[in-house]
Amino acid sequence: MSSLREVDYSTIVDTVARLCKEANYFLGDDVYNALKDGLNKEESPAGKDILNQLLANADIARNEQIPICQDTGFAVVFLEHGSDVRVKGDINQAITEGVAKGYTEGYLRKSILSDPVKGKNTNDNTPPIIHTRIVPGDKIKITVAPKGGGSENMSTVKMLTPAAGIEGVKKFVVDWVVQASSNPCPPIVVGIGIGGNFEYVAYLAKKALLRNIGERNPDPFYADVERELLEKINKTGVGPMGLGGRITCLDVFIEVFPRHIASFPVAVNINCHASRHKSAII
C-alpha cells in the first residue's frame, strides 16, 4: 500500500479562514476589469454612476480590507480531495472551524440561522455548505465561494421537456434574468446547468460560477451559447441595478452533464457583480 501524504488539521482551518476573508475583501481582477470594460460600453448615465461606484467600492474594500458587501454570504466550499492525501482529523470539522474563524476574525457578517423555521443566528456563520469530490493525486483544492441571499434567491431549476432543445434553454434563461431584474444586483454573472438530474443540475449551475470572467466552456458549441446568451441578456435593457442600461451581465457560464432520455433539466444560479470565489491548493 502506498503511503498517504498527510496534512495538518490546522492547515485546513487557517486556509479556509484566509479564503473567507480574501473572497469578501478582494474583488477578482477579472471582475474588476469587466466592470471597467462595462463602463466604456454603458449608455445610461445612472448605469455609469453605478459602475463607477462599484469600482470605487472595490478599491476601498481592497485597501482597507473590509467586505465588498455587507452580505458576506453563506460559505459555500468546493473541495477537491486527492485520494493520496489525508488530513489529520475530520476535514469537514476543520472547514467548519475555518469558516467560524474567518467570519469572526474578519469582521464578516453572520447570516446563518441554525434551523430554517425555528432557528436562531449561529453567530459564527457556520455551518458551511461543502461539496466534496474525490480526485486522483495527493493535493487538496479548496474553493470558498461566499454566496449572498439577494442573488441566491433569484435561482431556479426547471425540468424542461427534451423537445425544448437548446432554444428552449436560451429562452428560459433570458426570461428568468429579466424577471429577476434588479434583485440579484446586476451586472450579474449567470451560472447555468444543463442535464444530469434534479439535484445535480443545481450543483452544475453553482459550479459554473467558479469560473473567471471570459473563461469559456471547452466545448465550442456551449462556448457559442455562452456568448450568445451574454449578448441577448445585455440587450434586455435591465442594466446596472436594474435601473436601465446596457450592462446587465458580465458573463454566462454553462456546465453540462449527460441526461436521462426522458428529462431535460436546466438550472440557473445567479451571482451578483462581486462574483466571489477564492481557491487554494494544499
Partner: protein
C-alpha cells in the same frame, strides 16, 4: 452625472412631491435601518394600534443589515438589501406616516399604490457598494430590537448618502421605464 438634489430628513410631503423617477439625490440627516424581521414587529404593533419604538412620521427606512465594524470604524459595510421582502408590511407603515424608503429592487403593486395614496418615495441605493456607502454614515445607534443582531433597528446619521429615485409619488417606476428605454429588440 445628472444634477443632484439635496434632501434633509425628516421629509415633508412637499419634499416628496418634488421628486421624480431618475432624480439623483443626496440625503443628509437621520435614517433608520430595518429589514423584514424588524418590519414584522413594527407591522404587528401598528396593526394593533400600539406605539412603535420609534416615530416613523416623515422618516426614511433603509433596508440594510450592516456587517460588524472593524476597530476604528463607525459601522461596517452597509449596502442596501432586497426591498421586496418588506413589501407585505410596507403599506401599513406608509399609512402611519413613513415618507421614504431606501433599498434595492422592485416593489410590489400594493406598495407602489400605497406610495401614491400616502405620498411617499422609494430610493434605490447601489447594491454591493457597501464599503463606499459606509463612508457616508457618520454615526450609528441601535434604537430597537437589539436581539435581532444585524437586523436590529439602527439610527444612522448620514451625510450626502447617494440614491436614485426609483418609484415616485406619482406612480412612476424607474425599473420599468429604464428597461424599456434601453431594451434592444
Amino acid at each position: 452625472m445628472a444634477d443632484q438634489i439635496r434632501l434633509k430628513t425628516p421629509l415633508s410631503e412637499e419634499d416628496v412631491l418634488k421628486l421624480k423617477i431618475g432624480d439623483s439625490v443626496l440625503i443628509t440627516g437621520k435614517i433608520y435601518t430595518a429589514r423584514d424581521a424588524a418590519h414584522k414587529r413594527l407591522f404587528e404593533l401598528a396593526e394593533k394600534g400600539e406605539p412603535l419604538p420609534l416615530d416613523l412620521k416623515g422618516q426614511i427606512i433603509y433596508y440594510a443589515g450592516p456587517a460588524p465594524a472593524k476597530p476604528g470604524y463607525v459601522i461596517g459595510p452597509a449596502g442596501p438589501t432586497t426591498s421586496g421582502r418588506c413589501d407585505p408590511y410596507t403599506p401599513k407603515l406608509l399609512e402611519i406616516g413613513l415618507k421614504g424608503m431606501i433599498g434595492k429592487g422592485i416593489r410590489s403593486k400594493e406598495v407602489r399604490e400605497a406610495m401614491q395614496r400616502y405620498k411617499a418615495v422609494y430610493f434605490a441605493a447601489t447594491g454591493g457598494a457597501a464599503a463606499l456607502i459606509a463612508k457616508n454614515i457618520k454615526s450609528v445607534k441601535i434604537v430597537a430590537y437589539e436581539d435581532l443582531g444585524a437586523e436590529a433597528i439602527r439610527e444612522l446619521e448620514v451625510e450626502d448618502f447617494p440614491v436614485i429615485v426609483a418609484n415616485d409619488a406619482y406612480g412612476g417606476d424607474l425599473y420599468e421605464e429604464g428597461m424599456k428605454k434601453y431594451r434592444k429588440d
